[in-house]
Symmetry: C2
Subunit: 268 residues, 2 copies
Amino acid sequence: MKITSLQNSKIKDLVKLKDKNKRDKAKRFLIEGYREITKAILVDVEIETLFICEELFLKDNENSLIEKIKSKNVEVFETTQDVFKKVSYRDRPDGLIALAKQFEIKLDDVEKILSKKNPLILIMEKIEKPGNLGSILRSADASGIDLVIVTDPVTDIFNPNVIRSSIGAIFTKPVFVTENEKVFELLKKHNISIIATTPHTDKIYFEIDYKKPTAILVGAEQYGLSDFWIQKADDLIKIPMMGIADSLNVAAAATLVLYEALRQRKFI
Amino acid sequence: MKITSLQNSKIKDLVKLKDKNKRDKAKRFLIEGYREITKAILVDVEIETLFICEELFLKDNENSLIEKIKSKNVEVFETTQDVFKKVSYRDRPDGLIALAKQFEIKLDDVEKILSKKNPLILIMEKIEKPGNLGSILRSADASGIDLVIVTDPVTDIFNPNVIRSSIGAIFTKPVFVTENEKVFELLKKHNISIIATTPHTDKIYFEIDYKKPTAILVGAEQYGLSDFWIQKADDLIKIPMMGIADSLNVAAAATLVLYEALRQRKFI
């Protein structure tokens, strides 16, 4: 049965999930797109319903994906283009949206990662833009970080643009969402060195040692890390700025430090 | 005299500039925001008119900026909040929008840069997202690149989101917009080594020498660099990928290579 009306209750429920508060309350979120849904299935994100619109398919092997999802007893509904475009948050939707359950990593599992040998952690404090949050997750995945911590969040990790710009890394990387005090307590407990990025230091990011247990911290787009972290950091590092601007985009800055850590750990 | 109506002809002209074709035809563009307008003035971008809305000011020293602009015989118009928000392309406008003349670097000046000692050039081919284009410009400024070339463009450099995400670097860095064949001819003429980023190589970006005259190339978000460049490159380099994704965000990737070049040239 094809859904043709925006008044359909399932569609109304989906549209509501564009709103953070309603996402939180329902403990659900949307995964849009072939690439993202494929990654979500890979790590057993719990998909409850799949909405499809065949006319929008990019002919990217959608049918095998749909069969895989159906084999997990997930209901699949077809919609008209009009209805689909209303639910989609993309300019060019590819005809696939999944409704899934929110998930979170258990504190026990966080501690397991922190107690392994030489863990490398990335901590994001108060990142505002979903695109930056997602892009940093993508770089964290690519650089082989062990754990991502999102602290004092202002943007929720189930924001559709986070999921999109992370290209699914939100599903495959462990992401722990919590508060600064808790993070600090955990880092101290596990003897993890705190490396804070800030313009207010002379030390350049490639001048320190990342081979020991390390947490790399990046802060909000406009104001950077809070005093809480600047004061508690074991090392402050900066990105050299040779032009007229006083900072890089936060995702670019995070990527530089993550890859310097990777270079030291794997390649020299 | 305060502009109170959306039917005002100046306002209608401004709104039209949100459209690329109309921007091209008018050879004008919009600069929104205190930070961006400040940088534009710094390098004498030709501002024709300034629109302000005092109620939206962040009290960031706007008056001294306005005085500076007025001293260049630029007309200043005040608008109501409603009108301003209609013209603005931001969620939280700060009450300042300038109408400016488009500009371009002369071929002579491009050649001057290419013939200096050991120039370092960044070339972006077919970047689609304005946010990425701007963010790469920001990183190019920060890493001290000599020249940015935008080749076979699909997004124009006067797109409001390019200007915004470049944080004004679009004004302070020389940016040359042209086609692949022309770029190749110039690079050959000036003996500049062509370094192309691609997943299809074993060489890692920090394994090559950036101290000679070098052009670093990055390609479109989805498909990367065209065969044109892959075949003409002197060296292919890749970013190591340790996770499930097969690529980084293009702005993150460009930043890594730019800063490796900076590290080699200035710090080792």
